[in-house]
Subunit: 193 residues, 2 copies
Amino acid sequence: MSRRGLTRAEVVRAATELIEDEGTGGFSLRGLARKLHVKASSLYNHISGMDELFTEVGYYAIGELKRTQLAAIEGKRRDDAVLALAEAYYRFGKERPELYKVILSLPMVKNDALLSAAGDIVEPIMAAMDGYSLSGADKMHLQRVLRSIMHGFISQEEAGCFRHFPVEISESYRMAVRGFILLLDDLENEASE
Amino acid sequence: MSRRGLTRAEVVRAATELIEDEGTGGFSLRGLARKLHVKASSLYNHISGMDELFTEVGYYAIGELKRTQLAAIEGKRRDDAVLALAEAYYRFGKERPELYKVILSLPMVKNDALLSAAGDIVEPIMAAMDGYSLSGADKMHLQRVLRSIMHGFISQEEAGCFRHFPVEISESYRMAVRGFILLLDDLENEASE
DNA sequence: ACTATATACTAACGCCGTTAGTTTGTCAAT
DNA sequence: ATTGACAAACTAACGGCGTTAGTATATAGT
């Protein structure tokens, strides 16, 4: 090491903090450098640029999401697991909205690392559906469906799209998840005939 | 008028074109000015800034979305209407992704005009559910649920999150909508008991 | 023809990400 | 202990951005 340490890990951590505290919108390398008492160009000794930094923060965010999801469904099966997963996903999006946005902004196609990160998002959802007797293909479809419901709900609420009507937002979410469970049951029955 | 016309409407139209052609990401006032053979600062004679311009493009986008949705459900009832609406929504998001993104970026809470624009998004969905005998509150919830499903699906597909599994994306979407219809039926039966 | 005004212009400010080239502190080998 | 290599910080600059202030000018209404 030389001339006052500053690690890649520290940079990423500081960036994550800054994003969580002040939002993705106003985030800048210069702002981050200021927080680290360093000039912006110095950051390039540790990261290749903004894109890589965001990607790195995104990995952390995905890890957090995965962790909370797995913790939520631990020891649960079937409907209990799905409900717990949906609840945990919602809470994550609500409590750490900026981190959640970073996940969404990742271009999940760009390279192998990102592709495997996409796998980390899928994993807990597949695990929650483990107890249902469904074909593999159905599970893949249903994973997409559940993610659409959860993500769609959170992002519309976050955007302020749900304030138009005077009915409880949490009740709407419960209804959405109930719809998914109805679909699960339906497909399971269909398969067993 | 004076010194070579250039209307607010023209500016908005050109901005819309530029966004649809080259994406929200790279859009800039200077780029727009270039397209209009004008300096960037001249645009301020017609719009108050970037925010207002985006809002204006957003209004247009919402109008387009509403138009296609209403056209899709015209003459249809119940499940037919819901399926047609979902199909039309999906096509809009897929065929005009950049315009769709502009809608999402609108801060739907900021002022009355934006609030009424939010109403334009809701209207066709409520219309599609007209044929079901549901309470008003249920319809409000279900409107949120359907929008979550549709938006969640489109935005995840657009982000590349759905390429991880080798099953048909359109089939997943059909399944998602089927789940919504199951929910509709369920709530209708429940209400009639 | 004259004046007022709307519209476009130039110039600049303060941000941004990024790059090139330079200095300087530290660690390892002599 | 001296030296040499290197990593990490620096300064300076480029071209981009949105936005503002102040200036010139062509047209519309008198």
